[in-house]
């Protein structure tokens, strides 16, 4: 991996920018992304799609909040766990609310033609 200097959008300060090869992105995928997706999917019972979204959200948070000097992998694991638990809780609450208050077709399948026509 090489590092090129780049002028920041704000002007003035020069910041480092990495040039990353596709092999490195592939290695990143295997060594960091997929283990976290597996954790979210198998430990927290998420679908693979939800697990992928959770890990990407964790990466977005990492850019802003993570301190790379303090066990970054541990930080990511913790964030993925929290986001997964939140997502499951949200899904469960949604399902509970739908069961109690949702439209009838949500609970008992599609409406009959009579119901659909307002009983006319």
């Amino acid at each position: 991996m090489t590092t090129l200097p780049r002028r920041s959008p704000a002007g003035g300060r020069v910041v480092a920018r990495r040039v990353v090869t596709s092999a490195q992105l592939g290695e990143f995928h295997r060594s960091l992304f997929l283990p976290l997706v597996r954790r979210a999917a198998w430990r927290h019972g998420l679908s693979k799609e939800d697990a992928r979204d959770v890990v990407q959200e964790a990466f977005l948070l990492a850019i802003v909040k993570m301190d790379p000097d303090r066990n970054p992998k541990g930080w990511l694991v913790q964030v993925v766990d929290h986001l997964s638990v939140n997502l499951r809780r949200k899904d469960r609450r949604h399902a509970d609310l739908a069961a109690r208050w949702g439209p009838r077709e949500f609970q008992a399948g599609p409406m009959t033609p009579e119901e659909d026509s307002g009983g006319l």
Binding site: M1, R18, V20, A23, Q24, L25, E27, F28, H29, R30, S31, L32, F33, L34, P35, L36, V37, R38, R39, A41, W42, R43, S47, K48, E49, A51, R52, Q56, F59, L60, A62, I63, M66, P68, P72, K73, L76, V77
Partner: protein, 488 residues
């Protein structure tokens, strides 16, 4: 590529930018993985697949996760034979080589499998933790003797029967714990022998995660004895091994608390005191919450020692006064003696000379009634320091020489070399230059042999040169002692 392997986290922004508009592969779908896992489960049950046959690509890893999920769900629904199956799958997973496991996935799978197996046997996880803690920390004398005999046999390399009961192994672990403070070198040999014996076993040890627990305990005590004898780097390597094993153990909060304590004591001995006060405080409360009063008392004592090292004698005294009256400390001869030593030292520092001398006398009585040479040596070292701080160098020298005799009698050469340097320092103060030279001449080769002084350390060269000229350089001697205090 190597730089990337060291710090993959830095690549996150590039990864997100590169995958913004493309489909990201996430491995097998959960449904497909579960389907393949049920086939693998069937093959394992019939013994038609070996761990070496498992392809550990991304799909293979998904299948193993699915397999553990299957066994966990079966365990909660059915019952019959699932415990045995969990044990079989646990053994299967343990044999799989899992390279570059940065997220400890294998340990996680093993732990979840063990949880399924133990739950299925009808035992609560808290009960397992309690049984294990009691077996190792509060064994009866018969168990200790049993464990001691077993350790003697494997250390000698004598033939031991293949099927050893788990109880014997727990007794061996208890014996390591009981002897570590008094006989560090022998305990190190025994702990290393136990670790080697467990690692080399082809036959399963105990059920489920017990092998990992015992390997972790053996590594923990090997590291602790090395820490006691002043070999900190090696100690940390053993602690890393212990951590790797404890990750695979169910309900391992107690083990991790002990491991964290062991690592913190290494930092203490490296004089990183300022950062340690809150750590020991937190450890003390963690031990209390986990129902480990002995360990809580030890953590409290180490917190007091740390405060003392920072010259916060008043705060140290507060903790020590509470500890010296607690039933846990009174029941533990070793701990009681060292608490008295520090109590006395704190009083001495706070200019309460009479109370200090009384506390030293209590400590000496306490040490004399037991058989704890290391504690006795520490006590005498502290008494020496006490008299030195009062300006009584001759009496300090007398106690330092007693410390030297104690260390030599138990074979702790490194610590003996270090006290020799202290003796040299005091001898110079008393104008006994020839004695000082002699002590330095004895100490330096041992310190060099043990790798405690770097080749380029100026203080060593200066000291050697000054001794050769028969005019010892006290500043070089002091620098060397400072160096040893911070690096050993």
């Amino acid at each position: 590529m190597r730089a990337f392997a060291r710090e993959p986290i830095e690549i996150i922004p590039e990864w997100l930018a590169a995958t913004r508009d493309v489909e990201i592969a996430t491995g097998l779908s959960c449904e497909e993985a579960l389907l393949r896992a049920s086939k693998l489960r069937h093959l394992i049950r019939e013994g038609r697949v070996s761990p070496k046959d498992v392809e550990l690509d991304e799909e293979g890893k998904d299948v193993l996760h699915a397999l553990v999920k299957l066994i966990s769900e079966t365990a909660t629904k059915q019952g019959e034979g699932v415990a045995r199956e969990a044990e079989r799958i646990h053994g299967f997973l343990r044999e799989i080589d899992w390279p570059a496991d940065g997220f400890a996935e294998k340990a996680d799978l093993l732990r979840r499998c063990a949880i399924a197996g133990w739950s299925e046997r009808g035992v609560e996880l808290d009960e397992i933790a309690k049984y294990r803690h009691d077996s190792v920390c509060a064994p009866d004398p018969d168990c200790l003797a049993l464990g001691e005999g077993f350790l003697e046999s494997i250390t000698r390399g004598a033939a031991v029967e293949e099927a050893v009961e788990t109880k014997t192994l727990f007794s061996a672990a208890a014996s390591l714990r009981a002897r570590a403070d008094d006989e560090p070198l022998q305990t190190l040999k025994k702990a290393a022998a136990l670790h080697q014996w467990l690692s080399a076993r082809s036959q399963a040890v105990g059920s489920l995660d017990e092998a990992d627990l015992l390997l972790g305990i053996a590594a923990l005590w090997a590291g602790t004895t090395l820490r006691i004898s002043g070999h900190f780097q090696q100690a940390n390597r053993w602690f890393d091994l212990a951590q790797e094993r404890f990750l695979r153990v169910v309900n391992s909060a107690q083990q991790f608390a002990k491991l964290d304590y062991a690592r913190a004591t290494v930092l203490y001995q490296q004089s990183r005191c300022a950062e340690l006060v809150p750590i020991f405080k937190a450890l003390r409360s963690r031990f209390e919450k986990l129902g480990m009063p002995n360990d809580a008392a030890r953590a409290g004592f180490t917190e007091a020692m740390t405060l003392a090292s920072l010259n916060r004698w008043g705060e140290a005294l507060e903790i020590l006064e509470v500890l010296s009256e607690s039933s846990v400390v009174l029941a533990d001869g070793n701990l009681h003696a060292v608490v008295q030593v520090y109590l006395a030292t704190s009083l001495a520092q706070l200019r309460e000379r009479d109370r200090a001398e009384a506390a030293y006398a209590t400590a000496l009585r306490s040490v004399a009634s037991g058989r704890h040479p290391i504690v006795a040596a520490c006590l005498k070292w502290s008494i020496g320091d006490f008299y030195r701080s009062l300006g009584d160098a001759a009496r300090a020298l007398y106690f330092y020489r007693l410390v030297l005799t104690d260390y030599l009698s138990i074979g702790l050469r490194t610590l003996a070399a270090q006290i020799r340097l202290t003796i040299a320092d005091v001898s110079l103060e008393l104008g006994r230059d020839r004695e000082a030279e002699q002590e330095i001449v004895w100490a330096l080769p041992i310190l060099e042999e043990e790798g405690l002084v770097g080749e380029g350390l100026a203080a060593v060269s200066l000291l050697k040169e000054s001794v050769r000229r028969r005019k010892t350089d006290p500043r070089a001697l002091r620098e060397l002692r400072e160096h040893l205090r911070s690096n050993t």
